[in-house]
Amino acid sequence: MSEVMGLKAKLGLNVFKEDKEFHIRIKPGREKDERLKKAVIVCPSGLYSANDAGDVEISVDGCLECGTCLIACGEEVLEWHYPSGGAGVQFRFG
């Protein structure tokens, strides 16, 4: 198993249940906030990326609800809730 399994493939192994809304959002007007760049580094699922314009974007599919982005970036730039009851990742092993 020396070849590296891509993050997408790894996340594809998990059980995720869809939510009716995005549980994490970048607060409007904060897309260029420097603090968001931290999320690109720390997110275990690699869900944050900076686009060509320097705006940080998030795609919540594959979120492990670990909380790392909230702690690294802070509540001023992220609107962060847990997914609705019964939605989101459901760990079988944990």
């Binding site: 399994m5 790894k10 249940k17 580094i41 909380g67 990742v89 459901q90 079988r92």
Partner: protein, 428 residues
């Protein structure tokens, strides 16, 4: 309107321990769990130490669905090109009562939830709690999915981010220096292959911690635990340390880099990754803790910050279970007095202070400051590796004498540096 004696937010180990204890004594206890089942949102590195909590739950352990008892402890110090491993085993670890067990939360918590239900606790899953209900400065219940649910006491066991403690005004702001992130893979492996590879008999298991280059020199480490038919392999790294690392590794890259080390690749060969998980870990100790109680509310487990990294042992689950147990004791005492004010519930803190929980946290209150020291993650791993390399090297020509070989690595400056580091360690 429905009213309970106690509402517990979060059906993980703290919440279930509280529920199990309260229901056993006949209190009407409701547990609200946001996952499909208890354990669905929980992540552990992989092992629980049973000794400190064995007597708090005397009937629990016999049927507990642990994976393997840890009969062998290993620590690997990784330098960039080499690693040095120490192993500790023998009768002491292989005899009952066993000190620690590997486990999977998906299995363990699900089972523990059933045990709590058997005692009479009421569990509702797929229920996210959105807010606490406050009246006259007192917590009187919670809002979940639009419903108002009331209780004499709410116990916040909602994990490291604890929005419930925050809403009740008990939590300190989340400062990144007090938290680490763990990323882990479950790697399934044929039981026979696993036992042969790790030299395990029956239910024996091994635990190995990795220090040094695992985290690219940042505060943190790696772990490998053997389960029945899988391995728990992962890394833990301080969030600030990760952000400050000059090589700017992303968290998932660190885990991949760790997996690709030849020392690890050979251990997981033939296994199949079955799940990828991650979680924040509170590591700030006493200094980062907010209030543990308020009027009508208690905070337990990760929500209270009860997790500790002191290098070779990283613990949280025992503290979660013990704090859940003591929260239940405090609630029962408050019920006997029919007084659920902050002053009455303060008994929780007193019980914790007298227990191993706060004793450990007070003893190790400096551990984060002491251990978050780059020399422990770069200099010493390289030093240990280099000494081993030179001791074992047989060159083409004559081999150097042993004393000068070691002395070469230990200049006067280095010896002072080591002495300074030892002095640093006196605090823990």
């Amino acid at each position: 309107m429905e009213k309970f004696d106690v509402i517990i937010v979060g059906g993980g180990l703290a919440g279930l321990s509280a529920a199990y204890t309260l229901a056993q004594e006949g209190l009407e206890t409701l547990v609200l769990e946001r996952g499909d089942y208890s354990g669905a949102k929980n992540v552990t590195g992989g092992r629980m130490y049973v000794n400190p909590i064995r007597d708090l739950f005397p009937d629990l352990w016999k049927k507990a669905p642990f994976e393997r008892f840890i009969a062998r402890e290993e620590v690997s110090i990784m330098a960039e090109e080499r690693s040095v491993t120490m192993q500790y085993d023998g009768n002491e670890l292989a005899q009952e009562p066993y000190q620690s067990f590997s486990l999977l939360r998906g299995k363990f918590d699900k089972w523990f939830a059933r045990e709590a239900e058997r005692k009479g606790a009421m569990l509702v899953s797929k229920a996210r709690v959105d807010d606490v209900i406050m009246e006259d400065g007192k917590v009187v219940g919670v809002r979940a999915d639009g419903d108002e649910l009331r209780a004499d006491v709410v116990i916040a066991c909602d994990g490291v981010l604890s929005f419930i403690a925050e809403k009740a005004g008990l939590r300190k702001p989340l400062a990144s220096k007090n938290y680490a992130v763990g990323c882990k893979e479950i790697i399934e492996m044929d039981r026979q292959l696993l036992e042969d590879r790790f030299n395990l008999q029956g239910d024996e298991g091994m635990a190995r911690l990795y220090m040094g280059d695992v985290t690219g020199g940042s505060f943190g480490g790696g772990f490998l635990y053997t389960n029945k038919e899988s391995l728990s392999l992962g890394i833990v790294v301080g969030i600030d340390a990760l952000l400050e690392n000059e090589e700017a590794f992303k968290a998932p890259e660190l885990l991949d880099r760790f997996k690709q080390r030849p020392e690890i690749a050979s251990l997981i060969k033939g296994g199949q990754t079955a799940e990828y998980s991650a979680h924040v870990i509170p590591e700030g100790g006493v200094k980062a803790m907010g209030s543990l109680y308020g009027s009508g509310i208690l905070v337990a487990g990760d929500a209270a910050g009860f997790s500790m990294n002191i290098g070779v042992t990283v613990r949280g689950m025992e503290y979660a279970m013990a704090s859940g147990y003591y929260a239940a004791q405090a609630v029962m005492a408050a019920k006997a007095r029919n007084d659920f004010s902050g002053a009455s519930l303060a008994e929780y803190k007193k019980l914790l202070d007298k227990s191993f929980v706060m004793e450990d946290f007070n003893n190790f209150k400096e551990s984060l400051d002491v251990l978050d020291h780059s020399r422990f993650f770069t200099f010493y791993p390289e030093l240990a590796g280099s000494i081993m390399r030179d001791l074992y090297a047989v060159p083409a020509g004559a081999k150097d004498r042993i004393f000068p070989t070691i002395k070469k690595h230990m200049t006067v400056g280095e010896i002072f540096g080591i002495a300074r580091d030892m002095w640093r360690l006196r605090k823990i």
